[in-house]
């Protein structure tokens, strides 16, 4: 077990290292950050001076060394726009995004599990067919458009729910969260639904496919030959076998939700790190973009790690040695 953890740790570091190289290289070859920070009226001499001050005149690998060093120290640069450390900006907005993602996860699980399981158990029932049709439509929907429709209907037409912002927050462990206040909770409903929709539809299809696959396995037939009741066959034998692979995909889906939060946050003006990213892209605020990528990469690597651990805990076939 310890060896496995160590191995995974090495892998995680390798991945993060790779990401840092790619991010650094891509960023070095595109655009000129100097032009972003000097005033438009700056002379060539001023520009050269700024370039030296930023260390951009040094060879690429030296620049990378400095970048990496700063990275390890947690210094990801200062935002050109906000004039504040990029890391701080992101960390400030992280709770909002995580809160949104958390509710989307909750929502998609709450809907996808029962629907997917039912559709897998009774694939030919009318309800299952409806669920399958709906989920196919669900994965075909552009989430930003759904967001717009929801805003238009619930906020503009009916005035039932707010269309933008996070509303009032209340602190939990010193971190402000919106869902703790009624106003904040009302604000979170529409974005969470929008964000959850695609994942939810995909999970339904995956769970159903897995269950149908497992139900035709030999060991299910053997269990039937033992006289196991359908209920126990399904819940005790099929379900766990079907859900083991879903765990992996689910982990990846959380990553995907964090990514798609950028879109949802933009539509609903949700003050999370995704909206910050899109704003930074539009203003070419490079340190923030880099910081976002590195932090999100770290989050993904961590999620994958947790998924792997969970996987090994539920599947005895995985050998940790």
């Amino acid at each position: 077990m310890l060896k496995y953890l160590l191995k995974r740790l090495v892998q995680m570091i390798v991945v993060l290292f790779t990401v840092s190289v790619i991010v650094f290289l891509v960023m070095s070859f595109t655009g000129d950050p100097v032009l972003m920070i000097v005033p438009p009226t700056a002379t060539d001499a001023q520009i050269a001076e700024a370039r030296t001050a930023l260390g951009l005149d040094r060879p690429l690998w030296v620049q990378y060394g400095v970048f990496l060093q700063n990275l390890i120290r947690g210094d990801l640069g200062v935002s050109y726009i906000f004039k504040r450390p990029a890391l701080t900006l992101i960390v400030e907005r992280m709770p909002a995004t995580l809160e949104l993602v958390f509710f989307s996860v909750l929502l998609s699980l709450a809907v996808a599990l029962p629907c997917g399981v039912y559709a897998g158990a009774r694939p030919n029932s009318p309800f299952s067919r409806a669920v399958m049709g709906g989920s196919l439509l669900g994965i075909s929907l552009p989430s930003f458009w759904v967001g717009i429709l929801l805003i238009f209907y619930f906020a503009v037409e009916k005035g039932l729910l707010p269309s933008s912002g996070r509303g009032a927050t209340a602190p939990l462990f010193g971190i402000p969260f919106a869902f703790l206040t009624w106003d904040g909770f009302r604000h979170i409903v529409l974005p969470a639904v929008t964000l959850a929709l695609g994942t939810l539809a995909m999970l339904i299809r995956l769970i159903r496919a897995q269950i149908m696959e497992v139900m035709r396995q030999d060991f299910i037939r053997f269990a039937r030959a033992k006289g196991v009741s359908w209920r126990s066959l399904f819940f005790s034998h099929a379900l766990k076998n079907a859900l083991v692979p879903v765990v992996t995909v689910f982990g990846m889906q959380i990553g995907s939700l964090i990514a798609f939060a950028t879109v949802t946050e933009t539509i609903f003006a949700w003050p999370g790190m995704g909206k910050l990213l899109v704003d930074s892209i539009n203003t070419a605020d490079r340190p923030v973009i880099v910081a976002y990528l590195m932090i999100v990469a770290a989050m993904f690597v961590l999620i994958n790690f947790i998924v792997d651990i969970v996987y090994t805990l539920i599947d005895p076939r995985i050998d940790l040695r």
């Binding site: 060896k3 160590l6 191995k7 090495v10 892998q11 390798v14």
Partner: protein
């Protein structure tokens, strides 16, 4: 020993084959040794012209790996393969080319051994056209039709795809493909084990007829002893990558000497016997860590002290070769 000398079509000497399993980064950092599956551990045999030689054993004994190495589908790790007087052990793919015409293979799985997307005629004509053993498309076509006739098909069946045929029929198509370039040597890797009993006899008879007609030699790989007894002149019994007993059919089936051969024969179900003898206990050990002594020592009912310590070598006993301390230099 029969077979040494000019008459041998194929001579295999001390053939070794192994596969290493990939290591992770950490394994490499920790300097852990590569895990190696020792599939074939110094196997020697020869096959005369027009002869059928069989390798027999249970799954994982290395018989198929030996066969695939002999035809150079796998690169041998050590040893020597002499075919028709040429040492082909280290031949490059291009130097193998003319040899390939002369050695072909019949496979185990009639469903996987034919490309599902090729028509029967293309399956059979591909080797001829590739090796230019025919002058052109026309000759290839007529030869293909005559081959199909030999294995029992009508000309109009040539345009069909493999999935339109049954297992036995497919196996016959595979045989026609193997014959396409007029080979002198055919490796048959469990050619009938996937077939129904009544079809087995058809395919075995066809193979034996073809041998008489074209003077073929076979290396016959099988786990079914009764099939082997029917087709073969000489055979080798394999266990854990070693040949434990080797000799002509009548002496081995008449009086098996190696305890494993004995057990194998006793375990094979037959129509002629009421009850099987007491079965051999245990499973075949892992080919990753070979036992230092006799490979069969762990399951042998007649194990002695020396068996764990020293690996017996293949020595002539009663007109055949046996690797067992029971028959050591007394």
């Amino acid at each position: 020993m029969a077979g040494s000398g000019r008459n041998a079509l194929l001579e295999v000497t001390d053939l070794v084959q192994s596969f290493s399993q990939p290591r992770g980064i950490l394994d490499r950092l920790a300097g852990r040794p590569v895990k190696t599956v020792h599939a074939v551990n110094g196997v020697s045999f020869d096959i005369l012209r027009g002869e059928v030689f069989s390798l027999v054993g249970e799954s994982g004994c290395g018989k198929s790996t030996t066969a695939r190495t002999v035809v150079r589908l796998l690169e041998p790790k050590a040893g020597r393969i002499v075919f028709d007087g040429e040492d082909i052990t280290a031949y490059s793919p291009s130097r193998m080319m003319p040899v390939r015409k002369k050695m072909q293979m019949i496979f185990q799985d009639p469903y996987a051994s034919l490309n599902p997307r090729q028509r029967i005629k293309d399956i059979i004509m591909e080797p001829m056209l590739f090796h230019r053993t025919v002058s052109g498309k026309e000759e290839a076509e007529s030869r293909m039709l005559s081959l199909l006739d030999i294995v029992g098909f009508r000309p109009e069946q040539a345009d069909r795809y493999p999935h339109q045929f049954s297992g036995g029929q497919r196996q016959r198509i595979g045989i026609a493909r193997a014959l396409a370039t007029n080979p002198s040597f055919i490796v048959a890797d469990e050619p009938v084990s996937a077939l129904d009993v009544s079809i087995q006899a058809q395919v075995l008879n066809l193979m034996m007829d073809l041998r008489d007609e074209f003077g073929l030699s076979y290396l016959f790989i099988a786990h079914d002893l009764s099939v082997v007894r029917h087709v073969t002149e000489r055979l080798g019994i394999m266990y854990l990558g070693f040949i434990v007993e080797k000799g002509d059919r009548d002496s081995i089936f008449g009086r098996p000497l190696h305890p494993y051969t004995e057990a194998l024969l006793a375990a094979a179900p037959t129509l002629d016997r009421e009850k099987a003898a007491a079965p051999l206990q245990g499973d075949v050990p892992s080919p990753i860590t070979l036992p230092p002594g006799c490979p069969f020592a762990g399951r042998c009912p007649r194990k002695m002290e020396v068996c764990d310590a020293r690996r017996p070598s293949l020595l002539p006993v009663e007109g055949r070769m046996v690797a067992c301390h029971l028959y050591g230099e007394e």
